[in-house]
Amino acid sequence: MAEITYLEAIREALFEEMDRDENVFCLGEDIGVYGGAFKVTEGLQAKFGEKRVIDTPISEIAIIGAAAGAAHMGMKPVCELQFIDFISCGYDMLTNYVATARYRAMLPCPMVVRGPSGGYVRGGPFHSQNPEAAFLHTPGLKMVYPSTASDAKGLLKAAIRDEDCVLFFEHKYLYRRIKEEMPAGDHVVPIGKARVAREGTDVSIITYAATVWKSLEAAAELEKEGISVEVIDLRSLAPMDDEAIVATVKKTNRVLIVHEDTRTGGVAGEITARINELAFEWLDAPILRVTAVDVPLPYSPPLEDYVLPQTADIVKAVRRLAAY
């Protein structure tokens, strides 16, 4: 089979799942004739019709809320947000209505909210966000953030089949920059399982999404210096794979957490707390974080480059841990 991009992998998942289950439908802004701002849904409306690929008004509250209502009735809605940054407009609907539906009302709410996320593309403060930390805090939501094309496909398929709401973050920097051959058959990647992106013995990097690639770059560089780095790609942020996290900590005893999101209140804090609780005795060094600086993300290249974590930062941090 041919290699396809991360973006094409997502599209493939949508086609396959809509084919598989007539209850799956898509809704969002400009996803129909136009095929979405990034063309993820290109061809979808032509194949499945206007009823199953719905162009909506500019109404994130309504997109998410209507998805919830349809989900209650047994449909499987997949919402596209034009940029994930606009998920903030539906924050109430997601955290209060959707996330609690099963618990407070025994209403199933199987739905997916997906959208282009992340920076490194000169998108500025409102087209580069990483919203995971804002939702990590809400019981009832699941969250995945794939870093490879095959995970993007497999996790989206899993998300669509999940019985609860899954936030599916797509890294727009990766959309067309990475390619991969898809595993044959019905490729579903289970939610909640991390992936060892690279094996190593000296220092563990725990990361997800675009910074997986920067971590791998750093690891390759560090190998030359004789430092063996293990890279864990979390893939799922909620639920988090404690087992995989603990396993790598026990193996290397040194942990660097890398995320693209801002530092304070980011996901790294939660990971640190869990390691602390589950494997404190195995730590030979403090857990360090390489993250964005705590500012809204500027778009001018020198500024964006300075704010977001870069490979050199990871290298530097791993060196410090290795020498600790």
Partner: protein, 375 residues
């Protein structure tokens, strides 16, 4: 007996020939009375329970608004699977859809066998099978949700209609706006009932909107509008019925403004100091929906006192029974709190410092929709 009787009465009534101008049979007319009386009496019972501190949380009344909730809900067709989403003053609409006094009392008393098993307050509960979806507190949010419910009816070609209630206050929310607009564009079979009861908590309509009438909002969404005297149960029924028929026949969304008045405070603790003197009295004396309906029933339909009294006593005994039953209900077991955030995992782990607290919900006791999708 109880609510099943009511449901039976309703379906048998629909076969009757004796129709009023509104198309309602005499039996249906009496059923409307029954539901209004049940609403009022049940809330009065809740007041007693509240004063006995048996109610957990606030108590919300619909005194004087029973006609609008009951009359509008009555315009739906349960046999077709119509679904509504009530607001805090629409207990009457839930009763029409088959909610029972026992459920309501258990829920207000936070019991373990209440519809939400002690999770959510007051009348925040629902049942898809009987056709009502529980609201959440965040006003306006049910409008997009019901847009989605009715979108699914349309997508599947089902002959069903949805109805969502919002207060005058909730029309100011972004969620209301986005939801009604979305439904309008999609021509969802949705009826949006705006209950204009003059106040949102202490805020009078004039501080909520500069619009002269709430029904004026319809044109901005390109949808039909109806307006009715919400204290006239028949008028309410008729206006909503037109909207329901329009929705069912593919005519899309209707905004139905029902004009009524909130005679009690926002909740039981509110002393209504902000209401101009005499206003409440006037509505009570001259415009009580039940009093008005009794007039109609006796004048135009020759319903006599004893007939109504027998309904009243049926209502009373239903509520008495429900109260007794609810008092016997257990409080939830602590560990029930862990169940059902997700289908998978079906249960949270107890935090380590809580190990040893008694577990109550066993896997086999779990309602179907906790942990599976066929609920």
């Amino acid at each position: 007996m109880k609510q099943s009787t009511a449901a039976d009465a309703r379906s048998s009534a629909s076969m009757s020939r004796n129709r009023s101008t509104s198309g309602l049979s005499r039996e249906q007319m009496l059923e409307l009375y029954y539901y209004m009386r049940l609403t009022r009496s049940l809330e009065e019972r809740l007041v007693n329970l509240y004063r006995q501190t048996k109610v957990v949380g606030g108590l919300f009344r619909s005194l004087g608004q029973e006609a609008d909730a009951v009359g509008s809900a009555y315009a739906l067709d349960r046999s077709k699977g119509d679904i509504l989403s009530p607001l805090i003053r629409n207990m009457g609409s839930m009763l029409v859809q088959g909610a029972t006094p026992l459920e309501v009392i258990r829920q207000y008393m936070a019991r373990g066998d209440s519809p939400t098993r002690g999770r959510e307050l007051n009348i925040h509960f629902g049942d898809l099978v009987r056709g009502f979806i529980g609201q959440i507190s965040h006003l306006g949010d049910m409008v997009p949700v019901m847009a989605g419910v009715t979108l699914s009816f349309k997508m599947r070609g089902e002959d069903r209609v949805g109805l969502v209630y919002v207060g005058d206050g909730a029309t100011s929310t972004g969620a209301f706006h986005e939801g009604i607009n979305f439904a309008a564009v999609q021509r969802c079979p949705l009826v949006v009932v705006v209950e204009n009861n003059g106040y949102a908590y202490s805020t009078p309509l004039s501080k909520q909107t500069a619009a002269r009438e709430l029904k004026d909002k319809a044109v901005g969404y390109g949808i039909a509008a109806e307006q009715a005297d919400g204290n006239d149960v028949i008028a309410t029924y008729e206006a909503t019925k037109r909207a329901v028929d329009r929705a069912r026949s593919g005519g899309g969304v209707t905004l139905v403004e029902l004009i009524t008045y909130r005679r009690k405070g926002h909740a039981e603790h509110d002393n209504q100091s902000y209401v101009p003197p005499g206003e409440i009295d006037k509505w009570e004396k001259t415009n009580d929906p039940i009093d008005r309906y009794i007039q109609v029933l006796s004048k135009d339909f020759a319903v006599d006192k004893t007939e109504l009294e027998s309904i009243d006593s049926r209502v009373k005994s239903e509520i008495d029974d429900a109260t007794d039953e609810a008092e016997k209900s257990p409080m939830p077991e602590p560990k029930d709190a862990l169940v059902g955030v997700y289908a998978d995992p079906p249960e949270e782990k107890p935090l380590w410092f809580r190990e040893g607290v008694r577990a109550a919900v066993e896997v086999n006791e779990r309602p179907a929709s906790w942990g599976t999708h066929d609920g």
